[in-house]
Amino acid sequence: MTISEAIQEIIKLEGKNIFDDSKRLHAMLGDLASQNKKELNIFRGAVDEKVLKLCIDDNLKDNNKIARIRTLLDDKGLSEQWISFVIESLAVSLGWNYTPIEPEKELSIVHNLESKAKPDDFEKEKNIKFIAGEYSTEIEVIKNKLVSLYKKNGYDEDVQKLQDELLRVSSADKIKIVVTGQYSSGKSSIISALTQNNDIRIDSDITTDKADDYDWNGIILTDTPGLYANNEEHTQKAIDEIRQSDLLIYCITSDLFNQYTLKDFKKWAFEIGYSGKMFLVINKMSKEFGEYEDLVENYKLSLNRSLSPHSLNEFPYCFVDAKDYRDGVKDSDTELIEYSHFEDLIKTLNDFIDKKGELGKLDTPIKILKSSIDGVLQSEVSTDQDRAYYNLLSRIERRVCQSRNNVKTDISFCIRSGLNPIVEKGVELSRLIGEQDISFGKWELTNLVESTCEKINSKLQDIIENNYNSLQQDLQEIMESNTANYFFQSVNYAVNKKLNFFESKQSKFSREQFNSISDIVKNISGGIVNIATKSVGSASIVLKNSEVSGSILHNVIKGIGDFLKFKFKPWQAVKYIF
């Protein structure tokens, strides 16, 4: 289905009010026009709430709508080919009177209407904005797919967590730049120099123990506690902030990388994949003697060696002295300001934000989605727990089968051998036929059959009860085995924790396995499997008389016992021959 056919179909189903709900419209488009992936992505990236509002604005004539939409799409940096595609798709589906005209003509309509000149020197920025819109739609589609996967598989708790985190970052419309690096590398000085905020505490000692946000021309700069100050709590706080960053300024001093900072920098840049949004600042340059240019050349060589096989050119970077800049500004010392090279940093950082800021913001929800997936994948039920569970099931099954076969064989033998006196009496009497008079009437036969059956009944009761007791004992042994202990230890948390509305899949799965073992035990013995919460891993079957009487097998055995004892009179079925 083409995009315009899909929109027509959606309008048929939902009416034009659907244009007030861009998310729903885009989702429905995804379902109906899923074959045209590229067109769909472009269309969804281009047709935002503003465009949709114009589409259903009854106060505007069709040509005015089209002209205004064209301006919006043009501002987004969409190419002429795709602008025409989007406008034509909307025009066909909404039945506008549309004849493709020269774009310049359409634009001139808007210019006349609004006396607003089309900006022509921000092509790069527009492209970024449009790419951001396009990727944003792609991310939204993936997020919806992930949420539906989670819901379908019972990961409701993770859906909630994911949505909360995404909401938190989406509500922050400002770009967040986290400044990180080793302690005393001058992170706070850089922020203070950028924001001209002299209240920020700066000291040669460790001064930043929590993350603080500062506003810099509408951008959030986050100061973090330094890494590797032998303070796990500080390091963790910094890591949490880095994970939420749109862009990252990584700060080192003119001492360059040491083994810890180099490892940390490489981890974020190349292992976790932040390299595209990292900015490297080499601070405290004034503590070194020598010409700035010479120092920089030497440092570049050294940094390239450290980052090999990667190189310094993969990142924007600056060699500065933030403290000199602050002092220079404070004392209006232009020479010190120039010597600090901090204005180079401001310019390079601005370019970096222009280029990467919008895209960096997109990376944050991606990281949240990926981290959520990692969490779910890690919660995969341990195969060892599964193995223990299947092993327990098999052992119980084998024992129940064995018990059934034994009792069947024993009962069969008991009846067959127990009835022998009757057969033998027949042989004995048959031998007397023709030899002497036989006096064996109905009364004698009844006595023989009754006494034989009573003996059999009594033996059967013993067989059944012994078999049941032996099964019980074996079951207890299985429940106390190492395998059972391992299994109960694995499921202990899920079984003993307080149930809440959002239960993780892993926990539910473990609890279901425990319940199935527990049900089987209850069916056999009436006992309850109890995992002792204090000594984790030790499980026992708690048997109480009242509970045992609830076992299905026990009830049947008791019933059969009573039946054999009081009611079962098989001799009544005998056809008397005498």
């Binding site: 069969s412 009846i415 042989v427 036929i433 059999i456 059944i464 069916n523 098989p570």
Partner: protein, 87 residues
């Protein structure tokens, strides 16, 4: 009736006598087996419950494997977007 005939009749009566007592034992045996059938069914039911539990867990395991594959695919799609963003 000659001797041979008499002997045959006698043997026939003896066989009939043995058969009748044997039939009585057989009837009683059948009666027992019939009454105890329900007892064996309880064991079979427990074995059925065990098999159901095993199958349920196996199918949950299968669906978990499918989910893992889907999640890995989503992760790789996200990585692709990241690569494009910072290309």
């Amino acid at each position: 009736m000659d001797e041979k005939q008499k002997a045959l009749e006698l043997e026939s009566k003896r066989i009939e006598c043995r058969r009748q007592f044997y039939d009585i034992a057989e009837d009683i045996s059948k009666e027992y087996q019939n009454e105890l059938k329900g007892f064996y069914d309880v064991y079979n039911n427990i074995i059925d419950i065990i098999n159901d539990s095993r199958q349920k867990s196996e199918s949950a395991e299968q669906s978990h494997k499918k989910l893992t594959q889907s999640l890995v695919k989503v992760q790789s799609d996200l990585t692709e977007i990241q690569n494009k963003i910072f290309a």
